[in-house]
């Protein structure tokens, strides 16, 4: 998942490289490579390119702020939802940090580690700073495996 503008730029640059690679592959068509392997090489590039395009598409959709709500399957989804909510609200990591009175690097670290080291109090601060409303249910039956 792309979490900030820097990663967005890196991914866009990678996309350009894969597109150039695919074009170059179309033109080269080496005769000494087995057709099955040739096809696999092309599809490998296309497959990775599709992943990168999907990541960029997701980030751009979040930035456009079209989503009104983020669905969580479990508590484990909260960190990603916080990141998605920040992007969706048009806040940079630095701007969120300033709202809470932290350094930008702290939010970068939280997001890079999916808020693994953030306390519950900190997560509540982030939710408040992002002005989010959460509706949750705790289901009492055991999780199915």
């Amino acid at each position: 998942m792309i979490k900030n503008e820097r990663q967005y730029r890196i991914t866009k640059a990678q996309i350009a490289k894969f597109q150039k690679g695919l074009e170059a592959l179309e033109q080269s068509r080496p005769r000494d490579v087995h057709p099955v392997l040739q096809k696999a090489q092309r599809e490998a590039l296309e497959s990775q390119l599709a992943d990168l395009l999907a990541e960029v598409g997701e980030y751009e959709a979040l930035q456009a702020g079209r989503q009104r709500a983020l669905q969580l399957r479990s508590l484990d989804d909260i960190p990603e939802a916080l990141i998605r909510a920040r992007i969706s609200k048009g806040l940079s990591q630095k701007q969120l940090a300033e709202k809470i009175g932290l350094k930008e690097q702290q939010i970068q670290r939280y997001e890079a580690t999916d808020y693994a080291t953030a306390s519950f109090g900190r997560i509540r601060q982030v939710i408040r700073a992002l002005n989010l409303r959460t509706k949750k249910a705790v289901l009492l039956e055991a999780a199915s495996k």
């Binding site: 979490k3 820097r6 990663q7 730029r9 890196i10 991914t11 990678q14 490289k17 894969f18 150039k20 690679g21 170059a24 592959l25 080269s28 080496p30 490579v33 099955v36 392997l37 096809k39 696999a40 090489q41 599809e43 490998a44 590039l45 296309e46 497959s47 990775q48 599709a50 992943d51 890079a112």
Partner: protein
């Protein structure tokens, strides 16, 4: 090897068949100086979070029996 493991030639759904069977992915590429080799080599040598160069471990599969 490829004929016995068709999953290795299946790049659909973000390589889900490969990941399910081998818990990893294999991207066939030509020599490092070729188009696919260079593209993947450069791709995996850049940290996608920071854009910094990243070390990778290379194992030449041709040296396996």
């Amino acid at each position: 090897m490829l004929c016995r493991n068709p999953a290795l030639l299946d790049f659909s759904r973000s390589r889900a068949p490969q990941k399910a069977k081998f818990l990893g992915e294999l991207f066939p590429a030509d020599a490092p100086e070729g188009v696919t080799g260079r593209t993947f080599l450069e791709f995996f040598q850049i940290d996608k979070r920071t854009g910094n160069p990243k070390g990778i471990l290379a194992i030449d599969l041709r040296h396996f029996p």
